[in-house]
Amino acid sequence: MDDFSDKYRKKNPFSVPDGYFDNLTERIVKQVKKQEKAEKNSSPLRKVRLYMGVAAGFLLALFVLQILFWGIQDYSQKERQENSQLVVEMEEEDIFDSHFNPTTEEIIEYLVAESDNYDLILATIN
């Protein structure tokens, strides 16, 4: 390593323009001040942007909630309509069939057949 150091010498082979380091401190301090000023000036705008972003997010959330609410409402309405339709169909098909007029005996027979509690039904009729 010593031979290596002797031959190539620990000399910095690079150079700089004349007087480069003389005003470097001033240049750097000036640049930092400028940057700081630019950031201060831009900060109100950044705040406005932040508020606008928050407001936009809030509106978007409201919009999404509104759509969801409409969706639920629509579904409920549709469900109600379907249910009432079903009732109508059931009414038409079974319960209030105008062609079906059972006699009292037929009703008793049906109830007896459908229930195990025969005595209770008879007691109710009598």
Partner: protein
């Protein structure tokens, strides 16, 4: 607060840190720039080779130092903290350059060799240029370690603090870097 001090002396880091504690950041910053501008300049310059690029990077480095002064913790040396910022800034610059020019094909040494050949601000002789070319054949880490040890005379402990690498690893890296440079220069000698 930013007024120029007419008789700026080289001050101890402890004094600068004291100013920071007293919330006199601007005065501390001016002292820091004055004390470390040349050392940081040469450190960056050996990494990126070009004076123009170094000048731009040095501005960015001091801007980051200024922005980080409030968060600077006394658990690391002021000097190694700034050296670390400068190293990262220079390596990021090369990485970005590599991505833009070569599409990440890791040919940054070609770019640096071309920069070295065309650099106006190079006052070394032919032998020193050959040494610089040989340094450019090293890996990025070997190049950093070699420059910091050989030219900047940094201790292995300080280098470990800057690069976040164990002292033993740094010693091995430096040893391998020197061997590789010597081999490169032998080939150059034979060719000449």
């Amino acid at each position: 607060m930013w007024e120029k001090e007419e008789f700026m002396e080289i001050v101890e880091d402890g004094y600068i840190i004291g100013l920071l504690r007293e919330k006199q950041e601007q005065k501390a910053f001016r002292l820091l720039v004055d004390k470390y501008k040349e050392r940081l300049y040469w450190h960056i310059r050996k990494i990126v080779i070009s004076h123009e690029d170094t000048d731009d990077l040095l501005q960015n480095v001091f801007l980051k130092i200024w922005q980080g002064l409030e968060e600077f913790r006394n658990d690391s040396k002021l000097y190694t903290w700034m050296y670390r910022i400068a190293t990262n800034e220079a390596l990021n610059f090369l990485s970005e350059k590599n991505r833009k020019v070569y599409g990440n094909s890791d040919e940054i040494s070609v770019y640096l060799e071309n920069t070295l050949e065309s650099e106006v601000y190079f006052s070394g002789d032919k032998i020193q240029k050959e040494l610089q070319k040989a340094i450019l054949t090293l890996s990025e880490r070997q190049r950093l370690v070699f420059n910091m040890k050989y030219f900047d005379d940094l201790s292995y402990e300080d280098m470990a603090a800057v690069l976040g690498v164990a002292v033993g690893t740094l010693k091995a890296t430096y040893h391998n870097a020197v061997k590789k440079i010597e081999e490169s220069l032998k080939i150059v000698d034979v060719l000449n």
